[in-house]
Symmetry: C2
Subunit: 219 residues, 2 copies
């Protein structure tokens, strides 16, 4: 097996679906963050213009998180099935979910540049208001995620879990209103299904801080 | 074979890579645009919140253009090889290119909302200036696309061809400076390789207006 090293911030974000995929698939990797590696910034800057998360495979760098996730999903299996579906139509719906989740998260990107803290938090809260740009997509996701209930896990599910959990408190993105996702009942059901999957339950059993959102709400 | 119908504007944009993939793979489809179907807007609005391009497969709608493109790339072959690579690492680089091209095109999205024509064109020209946001990615793509020269065609190549051609005159996006891509020599070589691929050459042999950019520069 090649040596794998994932270079990313200590946050969940775009690195967590890859970490989780590899954990489920039982593929060991070095999880390199600024905490674990004092030369992190040199390493990261030396790989520019590639952007983190970057996966090194025997030292060879790969970037673009959901391309990495698809790749890893082909290598990692759960209960004998690859986490990136082999059937083209199943794979299509997996890809479709990843892209819908990207549409949902994309309005938050513009808020990271806002310098004033109060202004930044207000801009973020507005995204989750009734007519907010993120609310619009959360409603669509809440409708579509029903189709994932009771189905074998895939990388689209991992992506949906990790990205929607960024919008649950506690999170590394300040200004997300507490309980912002509470009204999306199907999304709550999906969260429970995912959090209770044995390897996910195991992976987060000692989770603290921002990763507590990966534990079941009703254990 | 199922019946396929693609619902999209008459522009190239995000629909063209799917059209081209199906043309290369010899999969017939109804190309539904406002020109070909007077009920286009009713049809499109009836499928909301899905966004065009939408592919109907025996009437069942699929959206998210690059998810559709990956799906079709698994069904369509050229010289015996599926256009979405079967080898996981080849598929990774194909996905990586699609996402890099998305990074490159994304700054243009914000300019469509600018009402004043002169202001809009100035904003677009700025993206292609020496330090422009799109120029930054074009330089990266120009470096990376070398790896695609002489390789069997895949859906990442189709995506790269169609999206970079949006930045060549004549195009449906006003305000893109003429010759904006001329300095990217590898991208020009890649354009020629793609435009001279027999099924692509055939597909655009009678091309007019915005699709003339798909013909070889040096036939």
């Amino acid at each position: 097996m090649p040596e794998y090293e994932l270079i990313y911030w200590p946050i969940t974000g775009l690195g967590e679906p890859i970490r989780l995929c590899m954990a489920i698939g039982g593929i060991p990797f070095t999880d390199t963050t600024p905490k674990s590696d004092e030369k992190f910034m040199d390493k990261k800057n030396g790989l520019a213009p590639m952007q983190v998360p970057i996966l090194l495979v025997d030292g060879k760098p790969m970037d673009q998180s959901s391309a990495i996730l698809r790749y890893m999903g082909k290598l990692c299996k759960y209960e004998g099935k690859p986490l990136y579906p082999e059937d083209p139509m199943e794979a299509y719906w997996c890809d479709n979910l990843i892209m819908l989740i990207d549409d949902c998260r994309s309005p938050i990107a513009g808020t990271f540049a806002i310098q004033d803290q109060a202004e930044k938090e207000a801009a973020r809260a507005a995204l989750f208001a009734e007519d907010g740009k993120i609310s619009k997509f959360l409603a669509i996701i809440n409708d579509k995620i029903v189709e994932r209930l009771g189905k074998p896990v895939n990388v689209g599910d991992l992506y949906a879990l990790c990205i929607t959990n960024m919008f649950r408190q506690p999170t590394f993105i300040d200004g997300i209103p507490a309980g912002a996702l509470d009204k999306y009942e199907n999304l709550t059901k999906f969260h429970e299904q995912m959090a209770k999957l044995p390897p996910i339950l195991e992976y987060y059993k000692d989770a603290v801080e921002i990763r507590t959102t990966f534990k079941p709400f009703n254990p």
